[in-house]
Point group: C2
Chain length 451, copies 2
């Protein structure tokens, strides 16, 4: 099957989505509400999701590995979350006041992630990382934040740098060069180069922010020495280490990457899983840093680090869904993490084997329940940072993911990593492997095909 035939087959199966997408282009810029959600020829429209399944408006049911931007570790609409939200719904969706559910969730997070000496709820991850940067600058009274090349911390203006290839160019129109002078970018997994860049900025260096696993940039795992090296540098030079655990928090373990890798960040951010499918972002960390934001302690507006908050912060729906999810994870942690990590390992090993046998040059990256397949080529022989992913054969990856969607009812958001939830089964992974084998055998993943 040629790529053009694959596209036609997708269109055949998604006629209602095609019509809706055409309408959507007259309402939304590009027809979508998040750039990464567009894929060629057009994205399908979802109608319902339950457990591991996502169903589009043409009644195609997919096994979902996108799982709400990797948020839904218990699958779509797990009973515990549905029950909690059903009850909360009748008790109000938005108090705009303090509430005891947020206190319960906050205390539970403190217990499971002892680094969260203090925390504040916001409504999105973009907000949480923005506040973390603000806190680091307030604490250090310095300005420069170092981030990772390809690192993704949401759409906030400060950290919208070196996200997409070519990484040294501005991330699009409307950003002001003068606002970008206080961000430095580090090559992931290259400690020597990173330390050199940090040292060159040391006089004005406030902190380093990084995802322990590069998520949006392509599911790239860290050399542990790299993160430890950055942590050591931060400690030695009295700059703040901010760990962005929005993806890895409650994913790599109940204590996130901090627990798994034994890291001690000054600040860290949470989101996704901790909201149980509802909007959330959290900035957490040392009390001595977080207390800079305390409006009771620091009465003068100028002296305080003013972080949000917002209309929806600690709204009872997000709190109830998050609390139900984290309570469930806490009670069933051994079983759940064992299961999803085993399925992840099985997926990575199985995929690697299939491609190797077919002599298609692939590297399957990931850890625990996260994984992504990279198609290598003459330009890149292995994946250890975002530049490697940018150089890999993304056309082939798109074709692979579109093939899974169209021919095998398996949904990865094209180009993005997959996340296994507690409701995925061994049979699902077997199906994924079998589907991959069939796609490989069909010849569709040979790079000689039209693209």
């Amino acid at each position: 099957m040629l790529n053009s035939e694959l596209g036609a087959s997708y269109e055949d199966k998604t006629q209602t989505s095609k019509r809706l997408f055409h309408k959507a282009t007259k309402v939304f810029a590009g027809g979508i509400n998040h750039n990464i959600r567009f894929f060629k020829p057009y994205p399908f429209f979802s109608k319902w999701a339950k457990g591991k399944n996502l169903c589009d408006v043409d009644d195609n049911e997919y096994t979902d590995y996108w799982m709400g931007h990797w948020s839904l570790i218990l699958g779509h609409s797990p009973r515990t979350v549905v029950n909690a939200l059903s009850q909360q719904l009748r008790n109000g969706t938005l108090y705009g006041t303090a509430n005891h559910i947020s206190l319960e969730l906050g205390e539970l997070i403190q217990k499971l992630m002892p680094g969260a000496e203090n925390l504040r709820f916001s409504s999105t991850g973009s907000e949480a990382t923005m506040y973390a940067v603000r806190l680091a600058r307030a604490k250090s009274n310095k300005r420069v934040i170092a981030k990772i090349i390809g690192g993704w911390h949401g759409f906030n203006t400060t950290l919208m740098q070196s996200v997409n290839y070519p990484f040294n160019k501005q991330e699009g129109a409307g950003l002001v060069a003068e606002e970008e002078q206080f961000v430095e970018s580090l090559p992931f997994n290259d400690l020597d180069s990173s330390i050199k860049i940090l040292e060159s900025a040391i006089d004005d260096l406030a902190g380093i922010i990084l995802e322990p696993i590069l998520g949006g940039a392509g599911c790239i795992t860290p050399d542990l020495g790299y993160i430890k090296g950055l942590q050591e540098f931060a400690q030695k030079n009295d700059i703040l280490l901010i760990l962005d655990e929005i993806v890895t928090g409650f994913r790599l373990s109940i204590g996130g990457a901090s627990q798994k890798y034994n890291l001690k960040p000054d600040l860290f951010t949470l989101g996704k899983i901790v909201g149980g499918g509802m909007p959330i972002g959290i900035v957490c960390g040392k009390k001595e840093v977080m207390s800079l934001a305390d409006p009771v302690l620091i009465k003068e507006n100028q002296a305080r680090c003013n972080i949000g908050g917002g209309t929806y912060s600690c709204n009872p729906m997000s709190m109830a869904a998050g609390l139900a999810t984290i309570n469930y994870l806490n009670k069933n942690m051994d079983e759940i993490y064992q299961k999803i990590n085993d399925l992840g390992a099985k997926a990575r090993a199985g995929l690697a084997k299939i491609f190797k046998e077919a002599k298609i040059d692939v590297q399957v990256t990931g850890e625990g329940s996260l994984f992504l397949t990279h198609f290598l080529n003459n330009k890149v022989r292995s994946i250890s940072n975002a530049a490697d992913v940018a150089m890999s054969d993304l056309g082939l990856l798109h074709r692979y993911h579109l093939g899974l969607i169209t021919l095998h009812q398996i949904f990865f958001l094209p180009l993005k990593m997959g996340a296994i939830s507690s409701v995925h089964t061994e049979g699902d992974i077997t199906h994924l492997l079998e589907a991959t084998r069939l796609l490989v055998n069909s010849g569709i993943l040979s790079s000689e095909k039209d693209s």
Copy 2:
């Protein structure tokens, strides 16, 4: 009753909240998740909310005029929203994909607010205004954004300027002076001074952002000539007018302030009401501007204006709650706006009369269903901008609001304006007026008392 007695009486009635707040100070910086939600001696914790009522953990039931940061125009948990969310909950809370509910809501907004030629959903108002600024800079290829002194557009870094008195000082630690050089601040309702400031920045002026009614700064209504004058200046000089309708959208009329005042902004932002009590932000506007964000049309990352989006953008829960709310408003608009505006007028007139008779120098500001009482003094004789509010007797306003909470079971977030919903009644306003009269008669609102 002295102010200290009032505080003691509040503490008597809110013993459980007192205990929870003490615990909360060990979890959250300042014990709260949004600075404005703290009030002295400590904020109560909410347990449930239904219709016009908010109930705290000590079973005190309040008539609520805070109404979820003024979001809940149909009251807490209206049946139409509860039904829509109950159904959606079982169909999934977070697809992470395109969905037809967002398309329906988007098309409905386009119909009711024709200026929304194109739009994009985000998850908070702070995000929406941040994206509006980015779009204005991209469109104009200029950098300076003018905002109003006291204007509040959320916690995003760019617009965190001249929000709090003293307005010419930095809004707290952790903000970088160099990032602030491209914002100019204008005195509300002073057209001559504002035009002078705009003219001085004209070479690099991208746009003007303003709330039609200053909300967080104190419910300050515009001289219509002021907004029209800014609009005329923007049109004449080819700079963008951004109307922040997060509070006024679907509040002042079904078409917001744009419709009521006949304004033609290039961009505008929505939030609050349009989310039906669930997290939302929207940036809307002219197609020629919004299309700069179109990733299908503009393939090159650097050429595009990259706006969000985010994990939760157009999530089906927010979309379902918003759609139910706006559909209900659309079907019942004559009745609802007539009712809430009449109640607002009755409240403003009644409050002004009571204070006048008591010879307490007060100005009740607001329009439609929004209102706030300002206590004047020797420093300020009338309220027309944020500096006037900052100079007014805020201690007395706090005492008035705490008195309503403690002695009359009426909740305004202390210092903040109130919003009337469709479930408030004539009897509620009568109760508010009667309670105010009793507070006045008690002598608690005489500025000679201890504070």
